[in-house]
Amino acid sequence: MLNLSNLTMEFGALRSISELDLTVNKGEIVSVIGPNGAGKTTLFNVITGIYTPTSGSVELDGKSLLGLDPARINHAGVARTFQNVRLFLNMSVIENVMSATYGHTRAGLFSSALALPKSRKEEKLVRAKAEELLSFFGSRLTGYRWDQPAYSLSYANRRRLEIARALATEPKLLLLDEPAAGMNPKETQEITEVVERLRVEKGLTILIIEHDMHVVEGVSDRVVALDHGVKIAEGDFDHVATHPNVVEAYLGRGAADRK
């Protein structure tokens, strides 16, 4: 589904991603790990069109995403969440989700202004869809919470809302940037289940960045480890977790030797 080849991203003299090849197959859950500053978020930013890579190619189902702006890339089927959670804080919870249907809805200025039947119907559908997506998280984001402003949510709920918002864009490929960051063990466990359910119930292909190794172990079909923008290991969890390059990247050379 997603195909990156020979991808390089440079900021001036700094190479955040270096000649990276990566394939994600349909229905797969792939984790990206690596120490801070390894280039994981940069990878997401390149895929979603926020940065234009210095060289290399990004393809979705054989079509190149290079040169498309983030909105078009989203329409092509890629949705994401942000490491630092970027919700529309002053809009209500349900509006956050509804707004993300923009790409596949049609109502324009005039049909909304005149409240034409067509646009009213669409509005109803959008709302129903948003409610359905929010109930994906059980009772966490339902009922009275719909009309709360997003800034009033707890941290974990913000992360959930961001996922719901991404789903509203009807993606094929979902990019999750540290979905479990800042969550307690119970919530982390829940997120692990949510990711699995996203694949099963929504039929999504998922690329996930995560520092919590329990989550990584729990969800991944395959793990890719980055360090300084270079892919240093790839394979199933056990293979990558014990790979000497990875141990070295996280703990330094000395630790790798002792082991």
């Binding site: 509006e95 923009y102 202004a113 960051a181």
Partner: protein, 496 residues
């Protein structure tokens, strides 16, 4: 390999972030009572209005009042104020779309109003000798200003915040300059110069609107037209705001990058906001020109711009009701200020209210009032003994209020000089007041009050326009510090 080290760090970070934002698990629910508890005093007024009257009822009351005004008021002057208010509401609505919804700071907005007015003037006066039908000229103006809005929005696609503000401000200045300079243009292919805009002289003799053979000869015609337009705009804009396009506009204001990543076509929507706002302003301009029957470019410059901004911000940007409220304050208040007697009463009322708000208890309030009175007498007597001329001249006494005050207040011969001194001292004292200890504040307050009255009486009442602008300026600063969301707006949370 230690697996837990990294996540813990991040968790801590996140907790820290959350604390910074003032968010904990379900704080919202925990604070429910506190949020709904009524705030006391002046601060509770907006909340009280918000909670006790449902939104639709407010609009119905407003509409009924506006209708009654148009039906029963015969005074031309009052009707003109009504028409001005209508125009002001239209302008505030347009700006509210651009700034309130989409969050684009467009400081050249008033130029579209001017272009609409000049456009109509050129198509319906002897200036260029055209007298086109109202339908045609209004249509051309709406399309033309929309197109221009589109062009101005092109740089807006790349720019945000401050840059956009300056570019649009510059655009507004360029409009003024072009109009001023276009009374004497020599085209390369012509021998003689042409006069397009009449420069600073303005264009007189503009035809009134005329629809289906009905000429708008009475100011009341414009009033009804504006009432209908404003009602239509209120309905359509609030519908748009609630649905797809409006939501998308608001996502841009919240976080343009996130919006784009969620599939919102940010550039197209920015353009759409600009175009809609520009078209509304252009239409308002055409109405203004037809009603006024003359246009002058100086009327479309910074002072008007600041008043529209003040209106939208005072009411609460992003809220239509707020835009109406702001427009009322900004267009009716100046008229009140124009009549010296009213303005004095208004000023004293505001002063008393301020003292009541600042003083908190009845006792404090009384002390303040009495102290101000005493200071007045003291100054008058002291300066009298020092035989510095006390001259309550006839010229100064303009109404019962100032007549009453003249027994109390020392009026210097050179009012400009002493007024200016009072102005400077007052500013310094207010600045000092905001930074000092409560004790000194108590002492300063009556002095500031006295100086305020003095300044108002000897200087400000006679210079309405300057006073108005001074008040607007001060209001903008104070409002940003105390209630940045405006009177009817919701408080905003921003993380940037």
């Amino acid at each position: 390999m230690s697996e837990n080290r990294v996540p813990e760090e991040i968790q801590e970070n996140a907790a820290h972030e959350a604390a910074k934002l003032g968010i904990g698990t379900d704080e919202w629910v925990a604070q429910h009572e506190e949020r709904t508890a009524r705030k006391k005093g002046l601060k509770g007024v907006p909340q009280f209005i918000d909670e006790s009257i449902p939104a639709w009822a407010r609009w119905v009351v407003l509409l009924a009042a506006a209708f009654a005004f148009g039906a029963f008021v015969d005074n031309q002057y009052l009707l003109r104020i009504g028409v001005n208010l209508g125009l002001f509401v239209m302008l505030s609505y347009g700006l509210n779309i651009v700034m309130g919804y989409a969050g684009l700071l467009d400081l050249g907005y008033v130029a579209f109003y001017g272009i609409g007015a000049y456009g109509y003037a050129l198509m319906s006066s002897e200036q260029l000798g055209h007298h086109w039908s109202t339908w045609l000229s209004v249509l051309i103006i709406i399309i033309g200003t929309a197109l221009l809005g589109y062009i101005v929005s092109l740089p807006a696609r790349r720019l945000f915040g401050d840059y956009l503000a300056i570019v649009t401000l510059f655009f507004g200045q360029v409009f003024v300059q072009l109009v001023l300079a276009s009374d004497n243009i020599t085209f390369p292919w012509a021998d003689d110069y042409v006069d397009i805009t009449a420069g600073a002289n303005g264009i007189p003799g503009i035809d009134p609107f005329s629809f289906f053979g009905h000429k708008f000869l009475n100011i009341r015609d414009y009033y009804w037209l504006l009432l209908v337009l404003v009602a239509l705009l209120t309905i359509t804009i609030s519908r748009i705001n609630r649905t797809r396009i409006g939501r998308a506009w608001r996502t841009i204001r919240e976080d343009a990058l996130a919006a784009e990543s969620m599939g919102v076509m940010v550039n197209r929507l920015k353009t759409m906001a600009f175009v809609t706002g520009a078209a509304i302003a252009g239409l308002a301009g055409a109405i203004f020109a037809a009603m006024q029957s003359a246009v002058f470019v100086s009327g479309f410059d910074m002072p008007l711009m600041t008043m529209i901004y003040a209106a939208v911000i005072l009411g609460g940007s992003g809220s239509l009701a707020g835009a109406v409220m702001g427009a009322i304050v900004m267009s009716v208040l100046p008229e009140v200020l124009r009549v010296t007697n009213y303005s004095e009463i208004l000023f004293l009322a505001v002063l008393v209210l301020t003292l009541a708000a600042v003083g908190k208890s009845v006792k404090r309030f009384t002390i303040n009032i009495v102290s101000i009175a005493l200071i007045g007498f003291a100054v008058k007597i002291l300066l009298g003994f020092a035989s510095i001329k006390i001259t309550p001249t006839e010229e100064w006494v303009v109404g019962p209020v100032s007549r009453a005050l003249s027994h109390w207040m020392y009026v210097p011969l050179d009012r400009v000089l002493w007024g200016n001194c009072a102005f400077v001292i007052l500013i310094v004292l207010i600045a000092y007041f905001t930074t000092t200890t409560p004790r000194i504040k108590t002492i300063l307050l009556p002095i500031i009050g006295y100086l305020g009255i003095f300044l108002w009486e000897v200087r400000l009442v006679t210079d309405v326009n300057t006073t108005r602008q001074l008040l607007i300026g001060a209001m903008l600063v104070v409002l940003m510090i105390t209630r940045p969301q405006g009177f009817l707006g919701k408080p905003r949370v921003e993380v940037l």
